[in-house]
Amino acid sequence: MTREELIHQVYTCATCGYCRFGCVVYNETGLERHTVRGRMLLLKKVLEGELPLDDRIVDSIYMCAQCQNCTINCPTGIDFVEMSEALRDELFRQGKIPDSARMVADVLTNYGNPYAQAADEKGAWLPSKYAEPKKSPNLFFVSCTSAYPLNRVAKSILRVLEKIEYDFTVLGGEEYCCGNPLIRLGEHEKSQEMINKNTENFRKLGVKRIFTACPGCYRTLLNHYSSEFKIQHITQFLLDLVEEGKIKFKEFPKKIVYFDGCDLGRHCGVYEEPRELLKAIPKVELVEFEYNRENAPCCGGPLLGGAPDLAKKIAEKTLREAHDLGVDMMVTSCGTCFLAFMEAAKVSSIQVQIRDLPMLLPPLVEKGE
């Protein structure tokens, strides 16, 4: 987005406040500075020389989960996520990014992952037979989230793939961060380095199809990597296998509500495949949240780093709704959402079982023909 386009957007904002409706940050704080409308008014003042671009305004730009719910309701089509990427770029260049974002950027550049874990430990969770990446057209791109805090998810996927004897490879310690968090922070040069290293590895192994359980990686692989690779989210990949008859499920008599994460949902438009996959499991009763698919709220997860208390309050609202729906379990297909809900559950009295979708599958999967 060019500077001119950005300025035009600022003046296009109708100050109607529709962007407040589904904004999880605003709906906790109640402050206009956390709405797109508020930010547009502030930027207008900055452009007109009435306010300096000070910390408060910078913070207001960063106090956003980049979930894009505001765009759904905006009558003038303002896409704050796109705008804020351009703004963050500019702030990054001017050295004006907030300390919390600076720290995340430093961790990412120093460790190559957002969890400050040693890069060569990325494959530590893998059974020894996967220690060396082998040649295969199918690559399971594990992601930092599934390799470090959530290797339960990665292990579940591995078990499913082994059960159906699927030919695939993993990069282990040679897998680099997809680049997504750095792109979001405005550090484009560094993210490109990571993209290049990964691409080189993909080509070396003869990879054609890449699947990942992380919607953030999925979004980045889809939009920032070469189109020579077929990119799939794990739910799309597994649904294909179900439809091809390669996977069968045992019965699972549970009432489940599915939570649409923003990366997979609004950002990539994947709403039905996870639902179809759940419905393919016999006896699953699938129910919906009041606001679902493109209207779903954000889980709060993207704010866990910068504003953890706020993030947990946001996540708790969804937990409460799931609880009130009387479900046995809430299922998401995003590690960030899963972590956000788990963090909220730790400090809340609300009891709901939470699962990242692949975690459900190992005991249910049977090899098809």
């Binding site: 109607c16 406040g17 409706f21 009558p75 009041e290």
Partner: protein, 493 residues
């Protein structure tokens, strides 16, 4: 307010529910209309001293009690989607955002009512009810942001549902209101009317219980007409059929909508509507719709339904063409729409403009006149701003009135209400003798009419000079300016 007073207030609402940060005050000091800084100066608009987010009715009551004792102005605020300055805390003091009173408190499908907090956006209630097979008797087309308290504060006299069920005040079973002295008062359907349209000048609405209706079968229609005359005639027949939704779009608006990617007919007038009922009654109503629209061409149910889905967005979706937009709202009887549109052709011949009407109660329409503008071109923008006074003239001429009073239209109160205006002042004096509730609005004239007419007239004639004068005036001590204007305003009161 003194530092001590702000401290005391923070003890009442809790530290996390109050802010005096300049940025927050700034953002909570305006409304939908981009008011030129120079005009803010002329009005002498102050920033609020502090912004509070009371959590419940008890906190609202405690804040008002405190403000009343200390003579501090309080301005209630919903989503600030009004453009008349009604929600602007002109006199500073406490801006009270009702955001935290946003719960759906009780849903009773058996007895067919719902109780909601004043800060709840209408869309949340609409969605909640739709998912459970019910509908409201009325809501504004700004539903994704407009709040329950804000719409009732603004009068709730036009919108979706209104042509069928009448002004939304008739949907109110009871209200929980806090009076300026902090007393909590539960109204019945009749007393509620006192607060409907009072624009926050008599108290704070905290909770409202509304009638709800089982959602009927719905049928959508869209017609276009070869002449405005034929279209208005159809509209005059249609409102009598009590449709749930009824709106018109003139060719000027259609052309702007087409420019941003919609596919509207280019005929002089388009009518879109929806009627509901059971299978049998729907058939009869549908025949009546067809009869009323005999002179028009039916464009199908599908595009009409799309228009319905888009009903909250239509009026703003073309704003990028401005990128600023002036919106003037007047309420007139349906037959007056024809002469109004003809007159606008002449008055606005040098502007890019369009009109949308929303059906109001008792056969009136709220005509929203949209005009593209660019607020960065200050002189030209001021020139356009002066159409505010043209809108008032048109409203009176066409047997109607202004849609909302707020700040910008206070000077017309005498003309609007005559004797009743004095009666309204008596009520205000009785309920709010210390005049803490939203001062300078509605029943308190901030700027006398001749002053407004003069400045607006000059804005039209020599906007450059006005801008220069205003810029100059902004260097005067604000107090002096406010004192001068205040004196004149007092005179009128």
């Amino acid at each position: 307010m003194t530092h001590q007073e702000v401290l005391e207030l923070s003890q009442i609402v809790g530290e996390e529910r109050i802010t005096s940060d300049e940025i927050d005050l700034l953002l909570h000091s305006g409304d939908l209309a981009p008011l030129p800084e120079s005009l803010r100066n002329i009005y002498g608009i102050k920033l609020p001293d502090t912004l509070v987010f009371p959590q419940d009715v008890e906190q609202v009551s405690a804040v008002l009690k405190f403000a009343n004792q200390k003579d501090i102005p309080v301005t209630p605020r919903g989503a600030a989607t009004t453009a008349t300055g009604a929600a602007i805390p002109v006199e500073g003091g406490i801006a009270m955002d009702l955001f935290r009173l946003n719960e759906i408190v009780e849903f009773n499908p058996q007895d067919e009512y719902i109780t909601v907090g004043a800060g709840c956006p209408w869309k949340r209630i609409i969605d909640f009810l739709e998912n459970r097979g019910f509908q409201l008797g009325g809501y504004p087309s700004s539903a994704p942001s407009a709040t329950v308290g804000g719409w009732f504060g603004a009068g709730a006299s036009a919108g979706v549902g209104v042509p069928q069920y009448g002004p939304a005040g008739e949907q109110v079973i009871s209200m929980e209101v806090v009076l300026p002295d902090g007393k909590i008062y539960n109204t019945g359907p009749r007393e509620s009317w006192l607060f409907i349209g009072s624009e926050g000048t008599l108290g704070v609405i905290c909770e409202v219980t509304l009638k709800i209706y089982p959602k009927p079968e719905r049928k959508f229609f869209m017609y276009d007409f070869d002449s405005i005359d034929a279209g208005v005639k159809a509209l005059d027949g249609l409102w009598r059929l009590k449709p749930y939704f009824l709106t018109t779009i003139n060719s000027g608006l259609a052309s702007m909508l087409n420019e941003v990617g919609m596919h509207m007919s280019s005929k002089p007038l388009i009518i879109v509507g929806m009627v509901g009922g059971d299978e049998e009654s729907l058939k009869t109503r549908w025949r009546s719709v067809e009869k009323a629209c005999m002179e028009g061409s039916f464009l199908g149910e599908k595009p009409a339904e799309e228009e319905w889905e888009n009903r909250f967005k239509v009026g703003l979706s073309f704003k990028t063409l401005g990128p600023s937009l002036m919106a003037l709202e007047i309420r007139i009887p349906v037959p007056e729409l024809l002469p109004l549109l003809n007159e606008l052709e002449d008055i606005l011949r040098n502007e890019r403009w369009g009109v949308e009407t929303l059906q109001g109660d008792h056969g009136t329409v709220c005509a929203v006149i949209y005009m593209l503008a660019d607020e960065r071109e200050k002189v030209a923008f001021l020139n356009k701003f002066s159409y505010i006074i043209t809108a008032a003239r048109l409203a009176f001429k066409h047997k109607g009135f202004l849609f909302g009073v707020g700040l910008h239209n206070t000077s017309h109160m005498n003309a609007l209400h005559g004797e009743a205006f004095h009666f309204m002042r008596l009520i205000k004096n009785k309920i709010d003798p210390r005049e803490i509730m939203n001062p300078s609005k509605t029943v308190q004239v901030r700027m006398p009419f001749f002053m407004l007419a003069m400045s607006m007239g000059m804005m039209r004639g020599v906007p450059g000079l006005v801008l220069f004068g205003m810029e100059l005036a902004s260097y005067l001590p604000l107090g002096l300016l406010r004192f001068g204007l205040g004196l004149m305003g007092e005179g009128i009161k």
